[in-house]
Subunit: 308 residues, 3 copies
C-alpha cells in the first residue's frame, strides 16, 4: 500500500495530490465493501485509538471511533475536557508523551489554534488534528473531497459554488486547500460582510483554478456542478439588522434550484440551522447526509494508512 | 430465528405475544450459556451500537453496552447531552440521519416524551427507546417480564401486587402493557394520592386480568406470587406532611413479609431509596438484583433479534 | 499461573512478596512481547471491565482501559460522577451489586477514603482500587515497583531518595508499603513542614530498610540509585511565603544532578508542575514517561491474574 507523505495530519496543506489519491482509493474500497454488506475489517486489529476531545464534538468523535472499530481496532475516549490533568496544570507536551504510552494513534480536538501541532511535537504515535479552533480541520476536507469524487467521479473541471460565510469558515479554507491540486472553477457567493478575504484570494490566485465572486446564488445557480453551503452565524454580524438582511439570501429552498443543473449536488458540513430548508432534503441532489456517512470511509482509509 | 414484528422498539404496546416469546426464549438461551461460563457470543459481531443518552442513566447505558459487547459487537457512546450539536441548534431529525451513518443500531434516552419516536422516523437503522421522559421505557418491561418468566416459570395465573407510586410510574405502565397478553390477578397497593388513574383502569378493564385496589400491603401480602415495589418520590406530594404520612406504609421490611407465601418474589426497578429495607436483601425472595442482571440477557436477545 | 493472595486489590498492604513477583514477571512478559511488536493478547478475551470514576482521572482510566483492550477484553466506562444513580440517593452497596451484574471486573476511583473497600464488600466480581481520596492507590505502587525492577534489575540494595511532599503523598506511602518486602536504603528529602510523619516512621522502623532524613537534595544526590520526586502542592502550606520559601529547593534541574551517579533514575508519578524542569526530560536518567507507559503492562498483569 502506498505510504502517505506525513506522519501526523495537522494541516490540509500536508495532503499531496498522491496522498489524496491513495486515501480516496482506499476509502472507495471500504465503501464498496460496506455496500456489499461487509461491516468489519482487520486492517487495524490490535491498534488502540485515543480520541481526545478538549472541546466536544460528538459527530466528529463518533465518525473516528466508528472508523477505528470497523477496522477491528479499539478506542479509548475523552469526551469531556473537564476530566483531565490539564486542570492540575499539566502541559500539553506532558499529556502527549503520556497518552503516547497508552495508544497507537491519537485524534485530538482542541479549542485553541495550533495546539494540536504543539501536542504532536511531543507525541511518539501518529496524531490527527480533528479541529483546532478557527485554524484547521483537515479530515473534513478529505471527507468533502471524497464526497466530490464519489458523486462526480472526478476532482477537476468542476464548477463549485461556495455559499455563505466565506470569511470565517475553516471548512471552506481546508477544502480549497486540498482542491488546489486540481483545476476547477470556484464561484464564491457571499454578502459583502462575509466575503472571502483578500489574503486568501491571493493564495488562490497562485493556484490552477479560476475564481469569481457574486452576491446572489440566483446569478450562477445554472452553472454549478456542486453547491457547497456553509452556516451563516448570526454572531458574526455587527447588528441583528445586518444579519436579518442577509440571512434569507443564504438559506436554500427548492425554488432556488429551479434553474439548477439536473445533477448539481448540494453539500454542507453540518450541523445546519437555517442554511438549507428541510424541503430540500428529499431531492436527489441533497448529498449532505451521504457526506456525513462518507466521513467514516474517508477516516477508515486515513487511520489504516497512518498506523505504524 | 423468528423475526420480531417491529423495526424500532419505541413503545411497550408494540411487543406482541409472539415477540415476547421469541425474546424471552433467546434471553434464556444466553442466560443458560452464561451460567455455564460462556462470556462471549458472535451474534452481533461487526455491529456497532450507538448509545445516545441525552439524559444520564449509567445503569441502563451499561446494561445495553454490556449486552452488545457480550454479543461480539462494539459501542460508541454519548454519556453527556452537553456535548452534542443539539446545542448548535441541530434538529433531532438531522441527528438521526447522521448517527445512522455511524452505527448499525441506536439506543436513545431523552428527557422529552415521544422524542425517541420522532428521532426514529428519520433514522435508517433500528432504534430502541431507553426511556423518553414520563412516557415509555419498553425494555424495562421486557427485563421485568423475563424475570417473572425466569423466577416463576410462567407468565399467567399469577397474583401480582404493584406497590407504591402507581399514578406516575412509567415502569409499572410498561410492564402492565406487556402483561396484557396473559391472564393474571393484579392488586394495586397505593395511598389515595398515588392510586392508578381512571383512564389507565379503563384500559386494564378491557384486558384479560382481574384487578383489585387496596391501600395496605398487609391486607393482601398472603395472596401474592410477586410483589413489585416502586419508588415513592417525595416531590410527587403537595406537602411534606402528606409524604411523611404515607412513605412508611410503602417501605418494605422483613416483618411485612411474615404472612407472605414462601416463594413470593420481590421485584423493584431500582434505584431504591427507602422502599425496601436492606434487611430484606438477604432473603431468598429478594430478586431485584437478579432483575438488574437479567437486563443484560433480555437486551442481548433484543439487540440480536433487531439487528439488520 | 500462580494465583494472587487477594480477590480484590484495595490496599498496597495486601500485596505479598509472592504477589509482587507474580505480577512483575507477567508484566515483563507483556512488555517484552510489546517491544517485539505484539499489540493484542487473548488473556482476557470475553471479559468486560467496568471503569467507575466518581472522580475524574483520565490518565489512570486510560491506563486500565488500554490494559484491558490489549488483553482482548472490553470496557464499559463511567467518566463522570454526575451521571449516576448516586444522585438519586442510591447506596454504594446497591451500585456494587448492580454493576457486578454488568461486568466481570471493576476498577473504581472515588474521592472518599475507604469507599472502594465498602463498595467491594457488596460486589460479586473482583474490584480494584484506583484511588480513594487520600487513602490508597495500590496500582500506582505496582507501576512504580515494576519501573524499578525494569530499570534496575533488582528490588533490593538500592538507595532511594524520596523528595518533596512526604507528609501527604499517597503515592509515596503506597510505594513504601510494597517496598517493605525488600531491604533498601531510604533517604527522605523534605522541608520541615512536609516531613514524613512520626507515625509512618514508626511503621518503617519495624521493616528491613535503613532510613535517613535530610532537608536538601544536594547533601545526598551522589548516593542515590533512584530519585523519586513528588508534587509539592502550594495549598498544603499555611502561607504563600512559606510555600515560596521551599518550592525551589524541590524543583529539580540539570545542575542539581551534576554530582549524581551516572545511572541514577528519576521517577515521578505525574502530573508534574514545577517539580522537574523540562530540561531534565532529555536526560537518559529521566524515566517518568517510561514509568507512565509501564503502567499499562503492570495493569495488564494485574487484570489478567485477577480475572475470575
Amino acid at each position: 500500500m502506498a505510504a502517505l507523505s506525513f506522519k501526523n495530519l495537522l494541516d490540509a496543506n500536508q495532503i499531496t495530490k498522491e496522498d489524496a489519491l491513495t486515501i480516496l482509493s482506499l476509502a472507495k474500497e471500504y465503501h464498496d465493501g460496506s455496500l456489499k454488506g461487509k461491516k468489519l475489517w482487520d486492517d487495524c486489529r490490535g491498534n488502540i485509538l485515543a480520541t481526545l476531545f478538549f472541546e466536544p464534538s460528538t459527530r466528529t468523535r463518533f465518525s473516528f471511533e466508528t472508523a477505528m472499530l470497523r477496522l477491528g481496532g479499539q478506542v479509548i475516549s475523552l469526551e469531556n475536557e473537564e476530566t483531565t490533568s490539564i486542570k492540575k496544570g499539566e502541559t500539553l507536551a506532558d499529556t502527549a508523551r503520556i497518552i503516547s504510552g497508552y495508544s497507537d494513534m491519537i485524534v485530538m480536538r482542541h479549542p485553541k489554534g495550533h495546539s494540536v501541532a504543539s501536542f504532536a511535537e511531543y507525541a511518539s504515535v501518529p496524531v490527527i488534528n480533528a479541529g483546532d479552533g478557527a485554524n484547521q480541520h483537515p479530515t473534513q476536507a478529505l471527507v468533502d473531497l471524497y464526497t466530490i469524487f464519489r458523486e462526480k467521479g472526478r476532482l477537476e473541471n468542476l464548477t463549485i459554488g461556495f455559499m455563505g460565510d466565506l470569511k470565517y469558515s475553516r471548512t471552506v479554507f481546508c477544502l480549497l486547500t486540498v482542491l488546489s491540486h486540481y483545476k476547477n472553477n470556484f464561484i464564491f457567493i457571499a454578502p459583502p460582510s462575509l466575503k472571502i478575504s483578500d489574503e486568501r484570494k491571493k493564495v488562490l490566485a497562485k493556484q490552477n483554478s479560476n475564481i469569481r465572486e457574486v452576491e446572489n446564488l440566483d446569478e450562477v445557480i445554472g452553472e454549478l456542478d456542486i453547491l457547497y453551503a456553509t452556516r451563516v452565524q448570526g454572531e458574526r454580524f455587527a447588528t441583528k439588522e445586518e444579519y436579518d438582511k442577509v440571512k434569507d439570501s443564504y438559506s436554500l429552498s427548492k425554488k432556488d434550484l429551479v434553474k439548477a443543473k439536473k445533477d448539481v449536488i448540494i453539500m454542507h458540513p453540518l450541523p445546519r440551522v437555517n442554511e438549507i430548508h428541510p424541503e430540500v432534503d428529499s431531492l436527489p441532489n441533497a448529498k449532505y447526509f451521504e457526506q456525513a456517512a462518507n466521513g467514516v470511509f474517508a477516516r477508515m482509509a486515513l487511520l489504516s494508512l497512518m498506523k505504524k
